[in-house]
Symmetry: C2
């Protein structure tokens, strides 16, 4: 099963790979694999919560390892609307984490939601893109 292979690829990078990116990398050490299986495996990994699926607006899904024992630390994204460059940032202000928890609790109560996750992204222009 390519489950391990896909997880290995994802654990080796900070990038946000597309299904085809992953396919190509797995293919190097596991040439028998098909793109279909990569999609299938990713789907399953996303469903069991080991992998996150994102859409940054470039027409293809992007994946990264979910946080956890083997996963990267939890982080948020800084997205450049000019060139698409994405920064993973984890240096949260202390208050940020505290407030996030507080906000989740408030929303849970008010709207009767069992909140399990959040997505936080800031959009703007990186230094390079600003200079043009």
């Amino acid at each position: 099963m390519g489950r391990e292979a896909v997880l290995d690829v994802l654990s080796l990078t900070e990038d946000h790979l597309s299904a085809e990116d992953i396919y190509m990398r797995v293919h190097e050490t596991y040439p028998a694999i098909g793109l279909t299986s990569i999609y299938r495996t990713l789907d399953m990994l996303v469903n069991i919560g080991l992998v996150y699926k994102f859409d940054f607006g470039d027409g293809r899904a992007r994946f990264e390892l979910a946080e956890g024992p083997k996963g990267k630390d939890h982080h948020h994204h800084l997205v450049c609307t000019g060139c698409g460059h994405i920064v993973n940032y984890r240096d949260f202000i202390d208050e940020e984490v505290a407030l996030l928890k507080k906000t989740e609790e408030g929303l849970s109560k008010k709207y009767n939601f069992a909140i399990t996750n959040h997505l936080i992204q800031f959009y703007g222009l990186c230094e390079t893109c600003r200079k043009k």
Copy 2:
């Protein structure tokens, strides 16, 4: 030009409409319009910042009026991963707004980004979906 028609449709709902949803509604009062023009107009409205484009993972882009003079108030999203239901919430805790600004400033400085916007979504299960 269908610009007005599209904006009218979007200003009449709290929902997050797809391009085709919008097409069908505009079509009622403006039967000559084509789907291509809807896409073109949406693209342009997104570029000039009058409309926001989202992806909630159902395979099609979703649109809503950006905040502003004629727009809705700024809000964040609560997304049910069970049924896809989306809540627009605007009752921010006071601190939330303050901290958001502070965080933006910190990030701007640290990563040299000119931040113009943010996307904040909480994921979970709504009451109905929790009961199954």
